[in-house]
Subunit: 302 residues, 3 copies
């Protein structure tokens, strides 16, 4: 995908040899782009067990200076799939990252507006450009129900001290008629202090050309300025055969929680290509000023 | 491609931990090689618009020490193609880099001799191993005419100061019978000082087994020792069914302009493979000594 | 391949900004994994000469911290093949790395036990994740005989001094009935001092479901604590249709030579997938303590 991206008061930070940093006003409008290629290896045993391995090759623009970045490779993910059971190992997504309707509809070519903006908990997620975690994710689907769980064995090292920072999460999803409800809980080992945790409930529904998602979360990261309830919703409406309009709103009850909202449009060109654009505003209760962002461009799959 | 490369007085520079540099005499003859793989993604809309994305995977030898380098990925290029119109975005070639007969015939396995050697202007070019520019290039072909233009939004940062260094270039190409004439002009925003610029005229012609190119340029980079006229020519002659001889000469009117000339030979093995070699000399008016360089090896496409 | 790996007393070393290092006790059991993809380019001339080029994409876990690493690309290898003759250039394997039965059977998912453990000579080998050497390897097979030879032009640079460290090796292999015998010799230019060298003799034989290898080497690296004879053996036994048991033992006559032994099992799942595991002990005459290591997991080819 590629196009033009506008960000109000885009800033460029440079570091001199002596370690001092300078901040410059950058170009508000830059060329944005992403090249993403999944390299998948698949094998299936005589007994019907499926093994998969994936490495992703991705190139993005530098969102600060507007220059291009070289493409890079991320950490590998390995999967074993048998019937409704799936086990992922390596650079995996956790139960939140895989949760139905967690992200909802994200307007814009770059999906820069989301209903989850009030969440500050750092859950286990797939790293598209870095090495990611080395964790395990389990998923089991049976009838209308699906269950997920992940465990990430982590240790952080800071001068002279090693701290356990293991994290785990679980989820349950139930689909009835045109509605999907999903609930997830996760927590991180906080050592001597309290354990940060997150609870998320999502609802998704489809009514003909209109579909929408609802999002409520209890964000308990043990940081007063961002803890509390996070909430949001998103909508998508098919306007005729090729055009889709999207909307998203996300907010949180804490003073420093990010509030954002915006609308987007997608025009399908066929053959896996589409034109996409969006415009949105991001703000918070204690922020000096809100930030306007917009983009427009083409996305295609190959 | 791979083979042997000879460079007179090859030097290796090392840097110690304290920052001091040492220069050693390296091996004059080393193993040279290049592995290049274009990873292309293509999609075509129902309306016949073609989208393309490319990332290149390349590995080269270290030309200084003669050791191998690991392969790397470069910045991505995105293209939209419809009829005679083509728009590239990202890590693109500009109007000079795309100009007909700009490079002409370059003798040697490593194409180390070129008619353009007198040019010192830094035009927008495709980066095969780095991230490249994040620019836009337009091309439009109609009948015997073709037009090109590019624009690269750039800013350079040096301690405490941000300087605009945007650059643009345009070109026109006309083909009549067996002759192609091309003209291009480009300039770079020089801030408070003068804007460096470059004007290039090329002619290419084919007469049976012989083909040749002529090159004249006005190099105005606002640096006295290299400004002035740059000129050169190149020839290729098919000697029988499988052998091609090549020759190139390039020079400039300024004292520090590089003068080089050399001959090469290509023997086609079929199946996309060929044996290639060349020998040439590089010098300048104020250089202490000329440098002899030669190489020989095999090149194959896959 | 991926699975669980256990290493007794796994240690993590971190470096602070001021250069001090801290060693922590890591998790003994971690997720181990490897993603390996060979990117091969092949061309064949009209005369039947085959050209090949290979770059490998590989991702491994960080064996110290148990976290994942991003995937990377290694240095390229180029080959010319014609009849029984093969010439490799670039990031190549030498005569030892290519020697029949040098590695023998290596128990465990990660092949962590080997009959060659007593060898300390640093021979030319293929680098799966780094740039590797820029060397040449020749191989010629005729009837029951095969010959190999390699040459690596190297120079090492340390503060102010450049030292030649060229190395070469040769090998001969003879196969008669179910037995393969192979002999190899190599040495490295040691500058003013003595030249380190290595001589290896291997025997491999197959008797129905049982196969085995014998290994004897004269390790002359000019380091008293590791010089002397290195020896070992390995066995593989097919237990029914799908299961293979493996065993390896390696030792050396010098005090600091690594002694190791262990057993492994492979259960074939069909479709290129298998379950693998192993357990082994590593020790040396002057080591304070032995180290137990074990692993289990799945390996699949795609």
């Amino acid at each position: 995908r590629f196009g033009l991206g506008y960000l109000e008061d885009r800033a460029v930070t440079t570091t001199t040899a002596s370690g001092a940093t300078n901040v410059f006003a950058g170009d508000d409008t830059i060329l944005v782009s992403r090249f993403r290629l999944n390299i998948d290896g698949i094998a299936e045993t005589d007994g019907g067990v499926r093994f998969e391995a994936r490495v992703r090759l991705q190139a993005d623009e530098n969102a600060s200076t507007g220059e291009a970045n070289s493409a890079g490779l991320n950490g590998a993910r390995f999967s074993v799939i048998y019937g409704g059971l799936r086990v992922d190992a390596g650079n995996v997504s956790g139960a939140f990252d895989n949760l139905a309707n967690y992200y909802g509809n994200e307007p814009g070519l770059e999906s820069f507006i989301g209903q989850y903006s009030g969440v500050d908990y750092d859950f286990l997620g797939y790293s598209p450009t870095g090495s990611g975690a080395n964790a395990v994710f389990f998923q089991y689907a049976v009838g209308d129900f699906a269950f997920g769980a992940s465990y990430d064995q982590r240790t952080t090292y800071s001068a002279g001290v090693a701290t356990d920072a293991d994290r785990w999460d679980i989820s349950a999803t139930y689909t009835f008629n045109n509605i999907t409800a999903a609930l997830a809980y996760g927590q991180t080992d906080g050592g001597a202090g309290s354990d940060p945790s997150l609870t998320v409930l999502t609802l998704g529904a489809e009514f003909g050309d209109l579909s929408g998602t609802l999002f409520v979360a209890d964000d308990a990261t043990e940081v007063a300025t961002t803890d509390g309830t996070a909430y949001g919703l998103s909508l998508a409406y098919n306007l005729g055969a090729a055009t889709t309009l999207t909307f998203a709103y996300g907010d949180g009850s804490a003073d420093a929680d990010t509030q954002n909202y915006g609308i987007g449009a997608i025009y399908d060109l066929g053959g896996g290509a589409s034109l996409r654009g969006g415009i949105g505003v991001s703000d918070c209760d204690v922020c000096a000023d809100s930030t306007l962002r917009a983009d427009f461009g083409a996305q295609f799959n190959f």
